[in-house]
């Protein structure tokens, strides 16, 4: 017993000090003792341990040591003849770096004691190199801590046993860095991608992610700002599941955003955007550099926005100043945009041969002699360019305890790839917050955006496709080139003759006051506003070439203005009662959205731009009020939310909103929307304690009813009246134009919101020290969607708008992320997300079908019908190519069919071909879409790559499917059927208008690298002389690589509405952007 106690007394302090316990160490303890103090030992290059063993064998001395301490010790040589042990030890330990101590007959070997305290200093920055203020730096395992200053610098006294520094800051991943005896430790912190303590914006309030019961995805501002895109929405592509972004590269436009499938047929399918509390549909005024976070509320999570929540809600929060001295940031990039995936068109020789061949089938005389053609114009080259892109931002921010301020100014210039099509925007922002007393604060957000657009017709892309390559851009006499047998305008002329300018000024923001009435009880009143004014001038000069003539100049001058305001009054209560925590919110909001617009026309206006006024036109021609619009929409809403948590494990939330809108008939103005949801943090349960690899596991589920009032935007104010008066087109009596009126718009008296109801459930997890995080979600919802129910033409030729269809979307989302961040030199992350969605029209009352997808040549390509996704392609099935006239005569065929044309399947076997033989071959809606993201930081370098793709959808090659006769064709048509080339799938040369068929329906699947960014943060030693606290330079490639199966220009085809999506006609081709930039923070 004695021996054990004795050993224990020694071992415990050792354990405490060294922090580890070694079995070999214990085995080395022996309590046997011998009364002998002198020894003869000879060792050559032996391990210390060997000496210890000899001493233990020969004497009663015992050693206590750790193998680890000895492991690094040098070999020793001992030549001792009957020398005292003390002396032998003293000689042997020299130069080993080890200490020993003799206590009784025990010799304790240890590493030398470290100095008691030492100073460590360093600097904390973000991955982008910005200094981080107020980062907590802790010595791991101790209570010693400090925070970084405004420049990110810190100084900490590390106790002797301190080995590791821990850096923590809200919004950043915690970082641990081993000291390794250094005195300077710089830290680079990564922003949180998904952190449980991260604050999530949920609409009229915030929550920590842990408490959330619904489906919310958050993306930090830095992930958006690195992309050369106009709007934050575009930057979301591929970063979160459930969010599909369909973007075109057209300057000045925002993409179509579809959250968890298409919830509507006729109305706007985009989510509601809320920018600092202001509800809007247009976010082209928001400067990405000002955005601190984007939170996407999906399904039930959006319920607090009631009648505008059904398509999801995207909350955009802009930056605020932070306490500290003024900080100046400069962010700038410049690059160029380039058309990629250009379709190879026929050269002029092949064009000529093809055209004459097609004409010969129609018994028409040839119009070309392929051997005498001189020109070979690549029209796409003639109309496109490498467009310059630039973005420059300066931000000043800072504050004290009582005042926080931020001011930013930005310039965004996008030239686009179509010659002359330019967009530029200047944006200014001033966000301020004032604390007047402990219980009262005020603040404001103000954004001013002034933009200018030089519009060029996108139809130039279509014209470039069609225009014959044998025509020159200009004839030798200077006139625009054309082919007289082809009714396609000269694409270069179309651009050069377009003088279409528009300007917009937008003022958006809010003022708010927040009063703390009692502990936990606050009242907030916020008045948000959004003022837009715009003007446009479109001048069409006199011109004439070929059949394209415009004998009288025309000027269209437009003006529009809109003022929107929203006034929120919200009472918030937060309280903890023991294990129960409660937060409750009730609010009232009123909104008005009012605007008017006018476009007027004059003729014979001089060509000089300074004379583009209506009064300069021909006074004998009536100034024609071509387009006068006006609208006024007023809303009022009451809403509330309750969140209850028990033991931080069980969360319940309920949301209720009553919305009233002037857009609907008087008895239908109010709608009630709600959600109920709960979550269970399983990982906090006792039974999960043994599963040490699971850090976090949460199950959530909810049910919600949400609305979409987009129909009110579609029909303006008319829906609110059961019977409206229509102003018909005027009639041209010889005496003058006579206006007409009639009653012909009858309304569904029960018209009201489109309602979406359904469930959402998910499992969120964090595994392996939260390095692996992820989420699996399921949703299933039905929308009662508006369609135009046709009525007899003498009642209402437009049909009655009625919510007469049910559309279902159900799907699964998966997101996985791997984050390796406990390393100072090298951190990396990988992410993957995928969304599987099934869209189906469950029911259309009355069994009607909705044809859409017109090609502009009399042919339609889609139908929306029960049992199919919205906007399904509806075409004839190609069943090979006719080789002989006998084959044609022996089967159902269309008029004018010749050998070399497609044979179509007579689906209903009635011996003739008509629309009843068309089949459904899929829609533009992808079966799944996914994002793959990765990145690393290594020393001063940072690298990231983001990819996006979708699969299982179809697109319609409308460019190929529209022909007006003698149009140019794609080079691939070389493989066409001819009497001598019969073994082919390409039909003969033809000037016929093709039937919509499976030939034109192609796979819409694609995979694209959205963004590759490589950055380098300049060393401190280098930049500190230039009064900078941080400087980073970077290069970015946006959309550099796309892998697609579609033979056209771009598989991203938003279309004008859900039923017209996925048809490539005058689409803007895909762009790649390459740019360099710098981020600088000044001291």
């Amino acid at each position: 017993m004695m021996k054990i106690n004795y050993a224990y007394r020694l071992v415990v302090p050792l354990i405490r000090r060294c922090g580890f316990l070694l079995v070999p160490f214990l085995m080395a303890i022996s309590a046997m003792a011998y009364p002998q103090h002198k020894l003869t030992v000879t060792l050559e290059n032996a391990e210390l341990a060997r000496l210890f063993r000899i001493i233990q064998q020969e004497t009663n001395y015992q050693f206590i040591y750790s193998n680890e301490d000895l492991a690094g010790a040098p070999l020793i040589t001992v030549r001792a003849v009957d020398e005292p042990i003390e002396r032998i030890l003293a000689e042997s330990f020299k130069g080993t770096g080890l200490n020993y101590r003799i206590s009784d007959h025990t010799i304790i070997v240890s590493k030398p004691a470290v100095p008691l305290q030492r100073e460590v200093t360093g600097r904390v920055t973000s991955v982008q190199g910005e200094p981080l203020e107020a980062v907590t730096v802790t010595v791991k395992g101790t209570a010693v801590a400090t925070t970084s200053d405004a420049q990110g610098n810190y100084r900490i006294s590390v106790p002797p046993d301190g080995q590791v520094l821990v850096f923590t800051s809200i919004g950043f991943e915690p970082l641990e860095i081993p000291l390794n005896a250094r005195a300077l430790v710089n830290a680079q912190m990564q922003e949180v991608v998904s952190d449980l303590d991260e604050v999530v914006v949920i609409g009229y309030g915030t929550q920590t992610r842990k408490q959330v019961t619904g489906a919310i995805s958050s993306v930090s501002g830095s992930q958006i700002t690195k992309q050369p895109v106009l709007t934050p929405a575009q930057g979301l592509q591929g970063l979160t599941p459930g969010v599909q972004i369909i973007a075109s590269g057209q300057p000045g436009t925002q993409p179509r955003v579809q959250i968890r499938g298409l919830n509507t047929i006729l109305t706007n399918e985009n989510p509601l955007y809320v920018v600092d509390g202001v509800l809007t549909e247009d976010i082209t005024n928001v400067n990405n550099a000002d955005v601190v976070s984007v939170d996407v509320l999906k399904d039930g999570a959006a319920a607090i926005y009631g009648s505008r929540a059904a398509n999801g809600v995207v909350l955009i929060t802009t930056r605020q100043g932070a306490t500290g001295k003024v900080k100046v940031n400069l962010d700038t990039y410049t690059g160029f945009r380039q058309m990629i995936n250009k379709v190879q068109m026929a050269d002029s020789r092949f064009y000529a041969i093809y055209t004459d061949e097609a004409r010969a089938y129609d018994n028409q005389a040839p119009i070309f002699d392929p051997d005498t053609i001189v020109h070979n114009t690549d029209w796409y080259d003639e109309i496109s360019r490498n467009g310059l892109l630039q973005n420059h931002n300066v931000t000043l921010s800072g504050g004290s305890e009582d005042v926080k301020y931020l001011f930013s100014a930005g310039y965004f210039g996008d030239e686009g790839i179509l010659k002359g099509a330019d967009f530029s925007r200047i944006s200014l922002r001033s966000n301020n917050e004032f604390r007047i007393a402990d219980f009262l604060k005020f603040g404001n957000v103000l954004n001013v955006a002034v933009s200018k657009t030089d519009n060029k017709p996108n139809s130039a892309f279509t014209d470039a496709y069609r225009a014959g390559s044998s025509a020159p851009v200009r004839f030798p006499d200077g006139n625009y080139g054309f082919i007289s047998e082809l009714s396609v305008a000269n694409p270069v002329a179309a651009l050069e003759l377009a003088n279409d300018f528009s300007n917009s000024q937008r003022y958006q923001g809010n003022v708010f006051g927040e009063l703390t009435l009692l502990p936990g009880l606050t009242f907030r009143s916020a008045w948000g506003f959004d003022r837009t004014t715009g003007d446009s001038q479109n001048y069409i000069p006199v011109y004439g070439y070929g059949i394209f003539t415009h004998p009288i100049s025309e000027l269209f001058v437009g003006e529009n203005k809109r003022f929107y305001w929203v006034w929120d009054n919200i009472l918030n209560y937060n309280r903890q009662f023991g294990d129960h925590s409660l937060s409750a919110m009730v609010g009232h909001t009123a909104e008005r959205d009012r605007g008017r617009g006018l476009i007027i026309r004059a003729t014979n206006v001089p060509a000089e731009r300074h004379l583009w006024y209506i009064s300069q036109g021909d006074p004998t021609v009536t100034v024609d009020p071509a387009d006068v619009t006006g609208f006024n929409l007023q809303r009022r809403s009451l809403f509330g939310r309750v969140n209850y948590s028990f033991l931080d494990k069980y969360n319940l939330s309920g949301v209720l909103r009553r919305d009233g809108s002037s857009a609907f008939p008087e008895n239908q103005q109010w709608g009630t929307f709600y959600s109920v949801a709960g979550s269970w943090i399983i990982s906090s349960e006792r039974f999960m304690e043994n599963a040490s690899w699971i850090d976090y596991l949460k199950l959530r589920a909810g049910y919600a009813k949400l609305g979409n009032d987009g129909i009110s935007r579609l029909v303006n104010n008319e829906l609110s009246q059961l019977l409206a008066i229509t102003q018909t087109s005027p009639y041209g009596f010889p005496n003058g134009l006579a206006s007409g009126i009639t009653f012909d718009q009858i309304k569904d008296a029960l018209a009201t919101w489109e309602a979406t109801e359904g469930v959402d459930a998910g499992l969120e997890f964090g595994l392996l020290d939260s390095r692996l995080t992820g989420e699996v979600s399921y949703y299933n919802k039905v929308t009662n969607a508006y369609i135009r129910v046709p009525t007899p033409p003498f009642v209402d030729p437009n049909g009655i708008l009625s919510p007469a269809a049910d559309v279902r979307n159900r799907g699964v989302e998966l997101a996985l992320g791997w984050n390796e961040r406990n390393n100072e030199q090298f951190n990396y992350r990988l992410g993957f997300n995928v969304t599987l969605n099934r869209n189906n029209v469950d029911e259309v009352r009355g069994g009607i079908d909705l044809p859409e997808g017109g090609l502009g040549n009399g042919e339609i390509t889609t139908r929306t019908i029960e049992g199919q996704p919205i906007g399904s392609f509806w075409v004839y099935q190609v069943d090979g190519i006719y080789q002989t006239q006998a084959e044609i005569d022996g089967s159902p065929h269309f008029e004018g069919t010749m050998p070399g044309d497609f044979r179509y399947t007579d689906i209903n076997n009635d011996g003739s071909l008509d629309s009843r033989d068309r089949i459904y071959v899929g829609s533009y809606q992808p079966r799944f879409y996914y994002g793959v993201n990765g990145g690393f930081t290594w020393k001063q370098l940072d690298f990231s790559i983001d990819c996006y793709g979708n699969a299982g959808n179809k697109v319609y090659n409308g460019k190929k499917g529209v022909r007006f006769g003698n149009d140019n064709i794609e080079a691939s048509r070389e493989a066409r059927w001819t009497p001598s080339n019969t073994n082919t799938t390409e039909p003969r040369a033809s000037n016929s208008i093709p039937k919509p068929s499976t030939y034109f329906v192609e796979s819409g699947s694609f995979f694209r690298i959205n963004n590759i960014t490589l950055g380098y943060t300049l060393p401190q030693s280098f930049i500190s002389r230039a009064a900078m606290s941080n400087a980073r330079i970077f290069v970015t490639a946006q959309n550099p690589v796309i892998s697609k199966r579609f033979s056209g220009f771009s598989p991203e085809l938003p279309g004008s509405n859900a039923m017209n999506s996925g048809i490539e006609l005058s689409v803007y081709p895909t762009l790649a952007t390459y740019m360099v930039g710098v981020n600088i923070n000044f001291k």
């Binding site: 019977l723 409206a724 008029e895 007006f964 006769g965």
Partner: protein, 490 residues
């Protein structure tokens, strides 16, 4: 703040603001007397509609007949013009659907006008009478198109309340052809009693329906019903009125210079005002397809047939008045390339870029002649012949032939036969030559009971007992929830 919120909540009007830029309610409409005329104007506007008088109508009334081929390039089917040319159309074919739709929109507008005009208290009874007369004339015109195209059609002669879709659909059933004709006759008779003579209409009202227009259309309707006595009496009345006479130069008949002229009973108006001031596309779909120097080009549909060309007697100026050719220099100096897609084009639909007013090639100043004195004479001749009054018939017939000689002698001798059968054929042949390309031929052949014989001889797949009428559009049958029954054979 809370007080203000409370006030806002109590403000019931907040959700009922006056709609911007929208006439608020039915009552305020009647305050402005101008609106009475506007109700009728909206009926006229429908005459300019694409579905009513343009592509589909051209196809159904003309390409179907032996006077015209589909035209255009062989591969350009104009959606369904090949089907119309070959009688292969079905209930899903677009053209019959568009024509049905457009005419019933017109019927709906006329019903609104007829129901609403009496509600104006600040409009004189005279004006109200006249306006209702115009609306009834137009309703009769729309129904005449419908009954000729589809046979039995729904008789909609009142405004349908919007209260329930069921009620509206309940009225969507076919009424016998005779009931429709009865409505047309009633409307036109009433219109004729309300409308002024053409000469009584001041310049301000030029282009509106007149008594002559109503009587003339009624005469044509009676001709279709073989009510010879009425047809002859009505045309006699028009002839005796002295309001109308033949335009001396046939070639000028469809030019801008003779619009609303001496021969005109009713026209669809088109002015050089701007977009929407005319019948968009009427001229363009029929103009030469290919290179035209000094003129607009077009789509090349409704190409006059070789059979029509051959039907003219030597020296008949109407051939050159109705047809222009590849390679020809036109009256305004425009040169048609010899390379154009078709050998012949419809001269009546030609609109000059340089000599006539046009907004652009699409919105031309081209009036569409619906009813003119030349046809009145031929109706008179046909009715007289059927009533055994050959000399009277010959008089009217030879007046028409007189102009067709263009002043030349030794050509187109007067018809002299008094044999009823021979004279009938002579009158029918005269109708073809005189009214060529004026949307009359197909319906005329059906009326005459010889459509099958003539059209099959022309190589068309006309099936007797089926193709006298067009199919009821399938989409309308669906809207009626099956209450509309299909025509036999479709």
């Amino acid at each position: 703040m809370i007080i203000v919120v409370g006030m806002l909540s109590c403000n019931k009007n907040w959700l009922n603001p006056a709609p911007e830029n929208t006439l608020i309610n039915e009552e305020s409409i009647y305050d402005n007397p101008e609106n009475a005329t506007r109700f009728v104007n909206s009926c006229y506007t429908q005459l300019n509609d694409w579905g009513l008088h343009v592509f589909s109508w051209v196809g159904m009334s003309s390409i179907t007949s032996d006077d015209a081929d589909k035209g255009s390039d062989p591969g350009d089917l104009g959606t369904d013009k090949d089907q119309l040319d070959n009688f292969t159309y079905t209930p899903t074919t677009l053209s019959p659907a568009e024509v049905w739709f457009a005419n019933y929109v017109g019927v709906g507008r006329c019903n609104q006008a007829i129901a609403n005009i009496p509600l104006f208290t600040n409009v004189s009874q005279d004006v109200k009478d006249r306006l209702i007369g115009e609306a009834k004339f137009l309703r009769a015109y729309f129904y005449f198109n419908l009954v000729r195209c589809y046979g039995d059609v729904p008789k909609i002669d009142q405004v349908y309340s919007a209260d329930s879709v069921e009620q509206v659909v309940g009225g969507y059933v076919r009424a016998p052809k005779s009931e429709i004709y009865a409505l047309i006759v009633e409307d036109l008779t009433d219109a004729a009693s309300r409308l002024p003579l053409k000469s009584e209409f001041g310049g301000a009202n030029l282009g509106r329906a007149t008594q002559g227009a109503a009587l003339g259309l009624l005469a044509k309707v009676q001709l279709y019903q073989r009510n010879w006595t009425e047809a002859m009496a009505l045309t006699d009345q028009i002839i005796a009125s002295g309001e109308y006479s033949l335009e001396p130069d046939y070639a000028l008949l469809w030019r801008q210079s003779t619009e609303n002229g001496r021969e005109s009973l009713f026209e669809v108006q088109a002015q050089n005002g701007g977009e929407g001031w005319g019948t968009g596309g009427y001229s363009e779909v029929q103009r030469a397809r290919g290179t035209v120097t000094g003129g607009f080009t077009g789509w090349g549909f409704n190409s006059p047939s070789a059979d029509l060309e051959a039907a003219y007697e030597p020296g008949d100026v109407r051939k050159a008045g109705n047809i222009y050719y590849a390679g020809q220099t036109l009256w305004d100096g425009a040169i048609i390339s010899s390379n154009v897609s078709n050998p012949r084009y419809n001269y009546k639909a030609y609109s000059s870029q340089t000599q006539e007013d046009n907004y652009d090639g699409w919105f031309t100043g081209k009036n569409i002649r619906i009813l003119r004195y030349g046809e009145i004479l031929l109706i008179n001749a046909e009715a007289a012949n059927e009533l055994g009054q050959a000399p009277k018939a010959l008089e009217a017939l030879n007046e028409v032939r007189e102009r067709a000689r263009g002043g030349a002698t030794g050509v187109l001798p007067d018809v002299t036969t008094t044999d009823q059968e021979q004279l009938r054929n002579a009158i029918w042949r005269e109708r073809r030559g005189e009214l060529a390309m004026e949307h009359d031929r197909f319906f005329d052949l059906v009326r005459q009971g010889r459509a099958g014989t003539v059209l099959r001889a022309h190589g068309k797949n006309f099936v007797d007992g089926k193709h006298e009428v067009f199919p009821i559009p399938l989409d309308q049958i669906i809207i009626s929830q099956g209450k509309l029954e299909q025509n036999p054979g479709y």
